[in-house]
Amino acid sequence: MLGVVALVLVLALLLVVSLYNRLIRLRNGTDNAFATIDVQLKQRCDLIPKVVDAVRGYMTHERGVLERLTELRAQATAAGTPAADRVALDAQMGGLLKGLVARVEAYPDLKASDTVLMLQRSLNEVEAQIAAARRTYNAAVTAYNTGIETVPANLVAGTLGFARRPLFEAGADERAVPEIGSLTR
């Protein structure tokens, strides 16, 4: 009788260990994917001073936007900013950049400038990379969430400290469509 109980206990322990290892693998996957987003966001951050320098002389009406961008970037790159805050700051910067690029259309001198054209392409590139990284992150998080919510892992996930993680959604700032007027010109 005692032997049977011991056997059941050992089996249960083995099951929990393998479940735990699987969940750790999934969680590391999401961490890794998040790090990839972070790298791309940092690249976009690095583009901001270049964009600001290139357009400052022309876009006198947008001075407020440029200052706000510089400010946000300083906050985001400051040491000790928590990851969650950085993501929020990046979302704001992304929205502002998008609006700015759309308004470039209104300045013929800027539109024809090679530097601005190259910067636009770099921004597009980094945006595409960020989008891909986010989708990868979402795929990893979905796999992880599914992992902790399905039987039998859902029985132990909470006890072992695995919590559901949120998916990435486009921030309100980024989703905002630039003003129609600036696009149709």
């Binding site: 994917a33 597009n124 989008a131 891909a132 989708r135």
Partner: protein
Amino acid sequence: MSFDPAAIEHLYDTVLAPKLSELEGLRHQVKGIITKAALTLAVPFLLFWFGGLIELLLPAGLGSVVSVLSFVLIFAAVLYIGIRHLIPGLTAYLNYRQRFKHEVVAEIFKIACPTAAYDPNRGIPESVFDEAGLFAARGSYKSDDLVRGTIGDTPFEAAEVGRQYSTGGKNSTTYIVFKGLFFHIDFNKKVRGTTIVVPESAPSYRLGDHGALQGVSLEDPDFEREFAVYSDGEVEARYILTPAMMERLLSLRARAGKPVYMAFKNHRVYLGIHFDRALFEPGIASTTSREAIVEMAELFALADTIVRELDLNTRIWTKDVDRSLLQGSTEAPPDPLDAVAAQARTGTLTTEQLWTAALAATGPAHAGDEGPVARPEGTSIAIARAPGSLTVAYGGTVTMIVLLVLWIASVLVSISAARAFVTAMSATMGVGPLADLAAALPAIPVADDYTASLPLAWLLGAAIPGSLLGLGWMFRVRRVEIGPDAVHISRGLRPWPRRYPRPPYEKVVVVERAVYIGRNEGLNLVNPSASPMLKADEARWVAYEMRQALRETAASAP
């Protein structure tokens, strides 16, 4: 599709229809040869199948005669077709196909894909096809109908490609890896790794080794149902396959109506549409139809569809247009004879000019303007000059006799093995008239002892090398005699030489160390051989002497 269907219809009515009727003669020639060959085979086969009925009518004892006769006739028919129809048939077909591609397909191409160039004789190099490891890299590879150019800003090349392999061994199976259109296009985003997109249902024998890649699952359920994605970088796979791109690929798949395979590597797209049949080929049984012509136009326009569907002209990312694709640096230079053939088709060259061009293209060794060539030392070839004639006698009759003896031996072993094989088979199953045939074969004293065990191995082992040996002595050139009105060539055991009248047989050509007598008029692929394989210096000497003789005897003729 980017082309105007009305333009193709118009082209068909004004240009292609007259062209096609011009080519009708060639088509009938090809069709005629195929029909003749089929009929030649059909008669003995019918005799074989219905032999039983005829045998019923014959007196007993003569029963097996019909089966034996039909067997002999089948062999005779195969041999006859091989000698009589094979080479003229192939020549006529290649000629017809070549003219069709240059005169019909090229015209369609100009309408359907005006921003590119078409070359029916070239293809995409195998190295490009295998670059991304999309398809299984084994077996034979064939590519032609190359199209290269730009669509919008995007450089591309496309060609018809076929790849297949056989497993070999006893139960050999042939797998068609890919047969269709293959596109090689400059991509608009930077790609550092490898990402491949294949149909979810693609059989594994088609695919290359992608053990180093990982499966990537994407958000779009429709896309997931249709395609499987493998990549060495998950983020890059999603960078390439944006939600918009996934929709576009699905739409392309729907428009192509055939399985689509894709790889992204080296900033390029490799895309194959598996049609599983030959494309851009002329009709043989009947004239190439209007529908077939419109389909060819649609195929050419596919390049345009792909570039636009995949939005490759949008260059808003940091990747610049890379035109190096248009150079095709990795491919071999085109065959100079193709250029000569193209010139010949224009019909502006005289025969003399054509010969000169062809000889120049194949290298100076074939030209006739070299100085006197001395008799090489140690040669066994004897050349005898007499006024108005030249006789070349090739030695090596001993070789021929050895070949003949070996051939007779292999025939005897084949007969013995065939008899043993049929007897062994009839012990386990019914073999019908074959048993009578075997019984009609004579017993071969010594060979029968050996062939009794493993008869099939003996049969194949003796029949295959035996038939090759047979070719060796049957067609080996023994003697060539050049006279003022004809060239006489003696071959094999044939007691009388064959006569090649002059004109038109006035040319001497050396190809691969054998000498041939060519015709003076038109270009003909089939020229009679006037020597067996020789040593290089012997071939030069014999060719020189023959040219001299042809020149002198022509001058002395009235």
